[in-house]
Each structure stands twice: as C-alpha cells, then as structure tokens.
Amino acid sequence: MSAVVGKPGWKSVSRAGLILEAGNAAEYETGDWRTQRPIWHEGRCIQCYRCWVYCPDGAIVIKDGKVSGIDYVHCKGCGVCVSECPTKDPALELITESEAIES
C-alpha cells in the first residue's frame, strides 16, 4: 500500500483525473513500473547520444553536454537504450530488478 499512502484524497484530487497543468510528465514517477534496469558503464561509453535520442521517457541524464547516468525515478526499464547502444563492449546492459537489489 506504500504507493497510495500520503497521496491526496478524493475530495482534493482533480475531477475525473483531469490534468490541469501542461508539461507535468516529470511529476509522474514511473520508475516503480520497472522489472529490469539498464546499467550504464561510463568507461565504455563513446558519447554517441543514441540512448538519449531513443529513450521514450527522457531518462538518460545529460550533464555538461555528456551522458552521465540514468534517471531511475522515471526509467520504466524498456531496454531500448540497451539495444541501441552501438559499442562492441556494451556501455549499457540490462539486469533484472531482483539482480539490482541483490548486488
């Protein structure tokens, strides 16, 4: 039940789920949908930005013009970045969430 505790009640949520503000996708934390996660290896990354281009959630973090990690609060674990990564020794690999918890 942790996903529902502390969220607004029926008297204060917008009617019928209407979204009254534009550009609010960042407020919706979709990371808990994930069953697998991409792991980024900085040393193997060639900074081609393909993962950034293809990520459907804007979850590839760019800092000072360079790929610098993954936003796990929003990453749904679709794996598109991993399949697009062109390096021979992949800079992105996919592991399950249970593997991530164990490691």
Binding site: V4, W10, V13, R15, A16, G17, L18, L20
Partner: protein, 387 residues
C-alpha cells in the same frame, strides 16, 4: 404529439451545440424529426451522422469534452453498442443528456418495449429518469439538462420512455414557450473545455491504482448529490410550468395497506387498477418511481414502511433467479429499515407483452392475499406467461 415528437421538440427548444446520432427502432423518429429541424435551419446544432452507436456516443463524448452541450438518443441494441463509452462519459463527468426509448434487448430479436436495455446500463454511472407518458418525457428533457450540468453533479442523464407505448402513441400535452425553456436551461458554461487553448487540459488520462479509486469515489458522491439537485430542479420547473415532479409519485398511498411499485407507462394503467379496487373498498395504492439512479432508498423505504404487502413490477429480468432489478433494489432498500411490508416481484411485459388494468388488478389481488396470509409463498411471478 407522439412521445418521440415531444422529445424531438424538446431537443429543438434546447438547441444543443452538437447531436451525434444513429437511428434505431423505436428511437428513429426522434433523430428523423430533429434532422428536419437542422435542415430547415430551425436550430444551430452541428448534426453529426455517424456509422454506429459506438461512434454516436464517442462523438458526443468528444464534443462534450470540447465544451459543447452535446446529446444523442438511442434504444436497446444501440445502447448496448454504446456500452464502453457510457462508462467513459460518466467517469469523465460529462453532462450529456440522452433520451432512451426503452426496447427489449435481443434475443430473440424483438423491437417492442421492456426495460432490459436501460436496466443493463444501471451501473454505468448515468442518472436514469423514467417517464410515464409523452408529457413526462418532454418535461424530463429540460430537467435532465439542468441536473446533468449542475456543478455538484456533472453526470450524464438518460431520459427513458417506453418504446411504441409512449414513443409512437399520440397524446395531448402542454409544451413550454421557447423563452421559458431558454431561461430555464440557461447558457452552458463548461468548466474545463478542451477548446480553451489558453488553459490547456488533459481529459481522460490513464488513472492507475493510486488514483482511480479516488475518482470512482468522487463519482459516487456526485450521484449522491444528484438526489437533492433533482428535487431542487423539479421545484424550479414546477414554479415555471405548474407541473410537479419528484423522485417518485405516490398515488392514493396515505391509508394504503397494499401497493404496487412500477416505473414508466404501466404506472398509468396501474392508477386505473387502484381506482377500481378502491371503489370495491380495498386499501390499495401506487408508487411510481421516476428516478432509478440515484436510487432514492431512504425516502422510498419511508414511503413504503406502513404497508402490509408490496408488489414490485419489473419490466426486465435479471436472471439472478431472485427477481428483476427493481425488486432487488426496492427489497434491499427496505431490508434493515425496520419492519416494512412483505415484498413480491411480478415480472411483466417483456418484449412488448401488453399489460391491462385486469392484469394489474390480479397483481393487487395476489398481493392482498399475501398481506392476509402474512407470508410470501411465491416471491417471483412471471405475469401472463403461458405454461
């Protein structure tokens, strides 16, 4: 006017922004008459001819979300084809008004009256008003609009009238002046229209386990609020027209010991049966339910409490093996209310099977026997079915 003409005339006086509709017997006349108003330039309505009822309700939902006063009309299998979108209209809180000309839902295929179509849609989140005659169908149209658009409600409303019996029968009725209708319904001011480009809004986004339940709870509250709004709108309508409406009508109920509860056109026939039995000295009465959703359980239980026995007349079968939908709601409203009458169910009139005064007198006689015996021997009867 026929019932369908009366409803089409009400639509003309309302002059909605959008009507999207598909013809189906016995609703066809409504759309046909209305299309001639459009062709003659008597209304400003954008009339959308669609390829199915699923599309009719979808287009109506889209128009309502855009901020239009949007309507459609249907019956039976057409209503069934709208099913998915009925729920979407209600859960998006769109104040759509839809006349439904009650017809048996197949099969075997049948075009005549019963309530199996709208009874099936009873849990879709729509308010349901049932009309005894053409006058009530006409009057309900304007009231439905005010109820639907009330800020404490914002739910779609079905205005139900009996197929052929009311939709195609000629009756005298009193119509309102155009100016009265205009003042009564007022201008529609949608709160979050999609077409307000300066204030963009997303309608109908995905609603997961963390918020869906809260929005359903809002819908329940809106339906609860509807009861008082229905009464307030009826009071205002009576002030303007002199014709009075409520949640249900009580006929010769004050000292009644046995009563029949029924909806729609059969109530008119039942009044004649009550008069006949009263002349013979029987203390009988009638309750005609107008509002099925929200179900006025407390007020209804209060009105029925003093009876010894009650017969509910269901023009639909629920296949629960314990009676029709109206019976189950009424008996549930009485259960736990303390005391109350013995309750029997009479399923009648399916597929347009005619019901006359003699049949309803028979129902009263059986229910008078139940009152005398102090127990219910046969809970559910199928009236007039050949063995």
């Amino acid at each position: 006017m026929t019932g369908n003409e009366a409803v089409a005339f009400a639509l003309k006086q309302i002059d909605p922004d959008v009507i999207a509709a598909y013809p189906i017997t016995p609703q066809t006349d409504i759309v046909q008459y209305f299309s001639s108003f459009v062709a003659d330039g008597a209304v400003k309505t954008e009339f959308v001819t669609v390829e199915s009822e699923h599309s009719a309700m979808s287009a109506t939902v889209g128009a309502a979300a855009a901020g239009a006063r949007a309507m459609t009309a249907t019956a039976a299998n057409g209503l069934a084809l709208m099913w998915e979108i009925l729920y979407i209209a209600a859960s998006n809180r769109l104040p759509i008004v839809m006349p439904v000309v009650n017809r048996a839902l197949s099969g075997p295929i049948n075009i005549h009256c019963d309530h199996s179509d709208t009874m099936g849609a009873r849990d879709s989140g729509w308010i349901q008003l049932y009309s005894e005659n053409a006058q009530e169908a006409y009057d309900n149209m304007f009231q439905a609009l005010r109820i639907a658009e009330h800020p404490d409600v914002l739910l779609p409303v079905m205005v139900c009238l009996d197929g052929f019996i009311i939709s195609h029968a000629l009756e005298n009725l009193v119509v309102n002046e155009d100016e009265l209708v205009k003042n009564f319904i007022g201008a529609y001011k949608p709160q979050y229209p999609l077409l307000d480009v300066d204030n963009p809004v997303t309608v109908g986004p995905i609603d997961m386990y963390d918020f869906y339940f809260e929005h359903k709870r809002q819908q329940s509250e809106a339906m609860k609020n509807a009861q008082e709004v229905i009464l307030a709108v009826a009071r205002e309508y009576e002030q303007k027209t002199g014709r009075s409406y409520g949640l249900f009508e009580e006929y010769r109920m004050d000292d009644a010991e046995v009563a029949v509860l029924v909806m729609s056109s059969a109530a008119g026939t039942a009044k004649a049966a009550v008069d006949e039995l009263r002349e013979q000295g029987h203390k009988v009465g009638l309750v005609k339910l107008r509002v099925f959703r929200p179900f006025p359980h407390e007020k209804l239980a209060g009105a029925l409490q003093h009876l010894k026995a009650l017969a509910v007349m269901d023009r639909a079968e629920s296949f629960s093996t314990m009676g029709g939908p109206l019976f189950n709601e009424v008996r549930s409203a009485l259960y736990g209310a303390g005391g109350g009458p013995l309750v029997r169910d009479f399923i009648f009139g399916l597929g347009g099977r005619d019901i006359g005064v003699a049949e309803i007198v028979e129902i009263f006689k059986k229910t008078l026997e139940t009152a005398a015996a102090g127990k219910v021997d046969e809970m559910v009867c199928y009236l007039g079915v050949r063995e």
